[in-house]
Each structure stands twice: as structure tokens, then as C-alpha cells.
Symmetry: D2
Subunit: 222 residues, 4 copies
């Protein structure tokens, strides 16, 4: 199946804020180097610069507005993310939903800066629609499972399988990530068996007592 892609969303967890963001990123880097598995981190916006300075991993933004340089106070401009060291972004996370027109604009803005892009979606039809826009990844996350610790790969395997099928028939170059409730090695293994190319996860690692050990468990069955 090839090695999976692991994207770690820090959300606004205290355990991943400020200098803690760097510590967790260093744990990710160690595990990535030991295993050869690509791990990317998505810390909070004010932490991107310091994380990117101190680790050699892809650093993603949690959000990017589809705007350029100009009069956009408080919005997230790709140019400033790039300058801070980011190389990818989440788009349309369930906690930061965008209009369809904004998703497309955000994707264009991200591509302009050479970013890897992950559009988050909530069910099979929206996953298929997002794939049409040609991001690098779509991440299917049924909202009712986010943050529950119940992995989508177990609770609703059909949604992952159907998403993979829909995407591969429409845009085979777009890869599917599996989100929502992923934290253990068996969750990742199940996701990959369903056709996902990786996972988007958050609390299972960030809030773990030992994030490095949690990451090692996550990849233990790959």
C-alpha cells in the first residue's frame, strides 16, 4: 500500500501551544526519521514560524483565506504563511467551514505558493465535489465522530470506502485521508485497508501524555 501520510492538527489545544508546539513537532520529526513515514504538523497560526524554524518537517496551516495581498485585516494570506515557513494547508476544516467559492479561491491561493492542500469534507457527496477541485488530498471526517476517539475507520468504514471509490473514479490523482477519531495503530491500519492514503488526526496525539509514544503506536502496524 505504500507508506501513509500523517497530518497532525494541533487545533487550539493548550498542549500544543507556543513552545509546546515545537516539542511535539520534534517528536514527530524523530518518529518520521526512524520510520521513513511522512508526518506533517499543523500548529496554530502564531506558532508556524517557530515550528518551521526548529524542525525539518512539512508545516501546514490550519486555514488559508482565498485572498491575496491587500486590505484583508485578520485574514490568512498565503504569502505570510510562506514567509513563516509553511508548505501546506488545511482548507474547510469542520471547525472552519468555507463557502464553495471560498474553497476554490483558497485552493488557488495555496497553489500559487506551492502549498500541499487538504480539503476537509463531511460525507461522500461533498468529498466527491471537493475532489473535482483537484487538491492534493481530501480528508473525510464525519462531524459526529470528530473528537470522540471513535475511529471513522471502524465506526463507519463504508463512508471511507465509498469516498475512496468516488474520488478514484473522478480524480484518481487526488488522495483520500481518513479523519475523525483516529489515534491507534489499528485505526491507521484499518484506514489504509479501506483505501485511504493516510490520516488526519489531532487529540489522540496532541493530548497524549507522551506524544512520541502515541505516534509510535499509531504507525506500529504499518
Amino acid at each position: 500500500m505504500g507508506l501513509p501520510f500523517i497530518l497532525l492538527n494541533y487545533k487550539t489545544y493548550l498542549q500544543g501551544t507556543g513552545q509546546e508546539a515545537v516539542k511535539i513537532a520534534k517528536a514527530c520529526q524523530a518518529v518520521s526519521e526512524e520510520s521513513g513515514i511522512e508526518i506533517a504538523v499543523a500548529p496554530q497560526l502564531p506558532d508556524i514560524y517557530r515550528v518551521a524554524l526548529e524542525v525539518d518537517l512539512p508545516v501546514f496551516s490550519q486555514h488559508l483565506d482565498g485572498i491575496g495581498a491587500g486590505s484583508f485585516t485578520g485574514q490568512i494570506f498565503g504569502g505570510s504563511l510562506k514567509a513563516a515557513g509553511a508548505s501546506g494547508t488545511l482548507i474547510n476544516h469542520s471547525e472552519k467551514r468555507l463557502t464553495l467559492a471560498e474553497i476554490e479561491a483558497s485552493l488557488n491561493a495555496a497553489k500559487k505558493f506551492g502549498f500541499k492542500t487538504v480539503i476537509c469534507t463531511n460525507n461522500v457527496p461533498t468529498t466527491a465535489a471537493a475532489a473535482i477541485l483537484e487538491p492534493d488530498y481530501v480528508a473525510i471526517e464525519p462531524p459526529e465522530l470528530i473528537g470522540t476517539g471513535i475511529p471513522v475507520s471502524k465506526a463507519d468504514p463504508e463512508i471511507v470506502r465509498a469516498s475512496v471509490k468516488a474520488v478514484s473514479s473522478l480524480k484518481p490523482e487526488v488522495k483520500v485521508l481518513c479523519g475523525a477519531g483516529i489515534s491507534k495503530g489499528e485505526d491507521l491500519k484499518a484506514a489504509l485497508e479501506l483505501g485511504a492514503k493516510g490520516v488526519l488526526l489531532a487529540s489522540g496525539i496532541i493530548k497524549a501524555e507522551d506524544p512520541k509514544a502515541a505516534l509510535e503506536d499509531l504507525i506500529s502496524l504499518v
Copy 2:
């Protein structure tokens, strides 16, 4: 009248992105030290950390969500701003409007971290309503003048005068800033004569060929 407070909003201008954000902040610091006038800078979110590391000025965020630590992907958490070195924030800028409930929540979140707060408003009634919430400052910016180079202190002095009057009768400890179109020394002087305690400005300095000279002109009549 006392010395004014000057708050410089970088918006997403290319001229103030990344390392340029630091250069402009250093110009602000030099002018502040020469003049004794308090100048604060509000760079883009990913630039807050590097600006705060390199200058000794109050660094503001352009936005703060009224949320805490937790599952708030892509939102702006006060704790991460604080960790990055911020000490204040704009709230409800015309380019990032919030609901009334969100403004109040944002203000509470900001106060929890000891931040100075500036609520932006668009006319006299909304300025009065914002003052009731007891931020440190309200910044009155008629949207039709933002970015025009036409100073509100000249184009619509009555809106500034009426805002100052309304605020001082309701909440005398809340100070009024004058935004929209401010860039020259005479604009600042006019604003202060109308009762404002300072200005919120952006393009006139950030996009100036020589930001330091532009700042020196701005304060030349005080």
C-alpha cells in the same frame, strides 16, 4: 491633549509581510523612542512571533476569536497569541466583522490574557454600543473611507466628534481612536482636536516608500 496612541494595522499588505514586518516595526520603534509617542504594531498572525522577538513595542493581533483551548481548528486562540508575544488585539475590524455575542466573547478572551483591546466600529450608534462592553479603545472607521486616503477627521469630523461625545458620556474610561484614511500629520492633529486619543492607520504607513519618514510626518504636528 496628552500624547496620542498610534496603532498600525499591517492588513495583508505585501510591504509588511514576513521579514518586512520586522523592518517596519523597527522604524516604528525608532520613531516611538525619538518622540515618546506610543506606537503599537498589528502585523499578520504568522508574523507576530518574529516581530515580538525583535522589537520592544506592543504587538497587536489583527483578530482574536472568543474561544479557549480546544477543538477550534483555524481559529485564533488568545493563548497562542500571548505565547507568541502579543499584548493586544483588534476586534471586529470592518474586514473581519463579528456578531455581537462574538465581540463580547473575544473581548473576554482578550482580557483573560491581559491584552489591550480595540473594538472597531462603523458609526456613532455601534461605537456607543461597543463602548458599553468596556474595551480599552473603540476605533471609529466609516467603511466608505477605509483605504481611500481621505481622512475621516476631515471628510466627516462630525462622526468623530459625536462618537467621542457618546462614549465619554457612557463610559468615560474608554478611549476613541480615529481610523479610516489617516496618514498625514494634519489628519492626526485634526483627530486629536475632535477628541480622539489616537489613530488606527494602515496603508499610509505600510505602503509608504519610506515608512519611517511617513511616521515622522504623521506625528510632526503633535
Copy 3:
């Protein structure tokens, strides 16, 4: 204390949709005529016309956008509400929050058509801020109590008392309504004793097996 004002929000309850909206309004009219108490109804937008045709009660909209005639597809224009027979509107209900600038614009649009206005708020500071804008009423509804059946007048009497105090000191002509969880006669009585001039209620009447009996119970202790 004078007679209270009762405003019945139909939300999108099936029991108050279409011709059912008219039936409930007729029950309100009967109770209003028997008791002399002013009752206003706020059915869904597509039902305003038929309700206004068939009853002689104030008919409120559940929302009004702060826009005029023009290119505002899907938005709610005061002129069309007026033409349909509405004479008042809720603004900023917790299920339809607006920015501060939009609240003010909505209020202006409503006043232009001579509408009675009720701004909904969530706590004491936002109630005070809303009162500054001078609607006819502010309706304080702690979001955590909405739809619970637990009356705010019992669960959190202090929030009602403090809202009344804040509003009467700032804008004595603005009246406070008590929302969230109100359904019984004792809830209304408690609200009025705390200084409210009426109540905003919904499920307790609309979803009652016998709405007329529920209304009669509601006003039984006044």
C-alpha cells in the same frame, strides 16, 4: 406592573408551519381578546402573509436583513415583510446571529417601515450594548437554556435582574423581555417580578398539545 407583552416565536416547528401557523395565531388572538394581554406571533417567513390575512394580531418576522430594495437574493427585505402584513421583527436571535454592524442596519431598516423591534441577546453586557441602539425591546436569552424547558426566570434570575437594571439605567424607554425556557404561568410571573415587561417564548406553546390551553396557563397568574 402593567400587562405583559407576549411574543410567540414559531421557529421552524412543524406544529406551526403552513395552515397550522394560522390556527395557532387564532388561538393567540382568542386569548389576547379574552385577557386584554398583547400577544404577537412570529411565524416562518413564508407564512407571514397568510397569518396576517387571517388574524388581527401583530405579526413579527423572525429576522430582517439590514438591506433595502435591490440585489439581495435570498435576503429578507423590510418592504416585502411590510407588504405581507408584518409589523415587527426579531433581530439577532441566537439561531440567527448578526454582526454588530448588521444589527444596527437591521434595526434601521425595521424602523424605516415602522416595525416594532426586539433584539435578542445572550448575557448582561450584550443586552446593555443592544439597548444603546434603542430597539423597542431587548430579549435576554442565555443560549444554554433555550429549548430546555428550564425557565431563565428560575434558573438564572440574576441575569434578568441585572439586564433590567443595566437597560433601565442606560435607556429607560427600552423594555426587557425574558426568553429561554418560559412556558408556565409561574415563569411569566417570575419574569415580571424580576422587572421584565414580557416574554419571548416558543416550544412551550407551539409544541403544546393544546396551544390555547398552554397560553391560558401562561397568563393565569398575571
Copy 4:
């Protein structure tokens, strides 16, 4: 090419508000009966009931929220639209944009009530993405042309042609409407020649001195 579908969006134009909405709908009905061309009208929400009572044409809503019966104050519930006589809806008009998840939920809500559905989009990629969700129609409207009187079929024929091509290769049963700037017979003819199956139009008819004559001109070359 078959007869086109004409959908008339009243926006919040004064000329189509209240009883005027009925007058224009009657003109549409007369032209539809004379020509055999299907014309549907999308008046403002409070006017749907009276229009549906008085004409025998499909009546569309300008918006539908993806919610059901329940606690959704101020939102637009399919059940109340159905009860008022609507049989179709616009979704995601440029003046009422929705998130991708909301578009999908709105579409499902509309289908539950047997409504015809038109998703509005702004460019070729978003048109293709919307088509994946399988509405009856997608209406491509470049925002920069809306309300200009410059027909998209002339100003940017390629966007129409490319939309038709993308949609027919992905979901051949979904039909493309051409919006933005359409008002004359030659605009409609050009749209149909580019592969559109109809048009979505507004000011050209609603604000015409003689709407019936304007409609007759619109269909004169078909």
C-alpha cells in the same frame, strides 16, 4: 435544442415586491402559455404564498436552508416553502453563499420536498463541483457580470462553453443555466448556442418598464 427553461429571480427589487410580485408572475404566465416555454418565478420569501395562489407557474424560493423542522429561528425550512406553494429553489446564489456542507444539506432538504434545484456557481471548477452533487441545474454566474447588463454569453462565452463541457462529462443529467447580465433575445440565443439549457435572470425583466414585453423580447429568437 429544445425549449429553454427561464428562471426569473426577483431579488429584493421594489418592482417585484408584494402585489407587484403577482403582477409580474401573471405576465410570465401569459408569455409561457403563448410560447410553450417553461418560465419559473423566484419572488421574495414573504411573497411566495400569494404568488403561488394566483398563478399556475413553478414558484421557486431564492434560498433554502439545509435544516428540518425544529429550533432554527429565521431560517428557511423546506416544509414551510412547500406549504406556501413553492416547488423549487435557488441554492448558493452569489448574494447568499453557503458552505459546501450547507449546499449539500440544502440540496437534500430540497429533494425531500420534491423541489427542483438550481445551484448557483461562479466559475468552471465550482460549477463542476456543484454538478457532482446532482442538482437539476447549475447556474453559472460570474459575479463580476451580475447586474451589469453585460451578458455572460457575450462577455465570456468560454466560461459557459467550458461549464457545459465539464458538467456533461461528469453528470450528463445535470443541466446548465446561464446567468449574469442576460436580458435580451440575443443573450438567450447565444446562451443556448453555447450549450446552456436556459437562463437565470433578474433586473432585465423585473426592472423593465414593461416586463411582459421584455419577456417577449427575451424569447423572440428561440
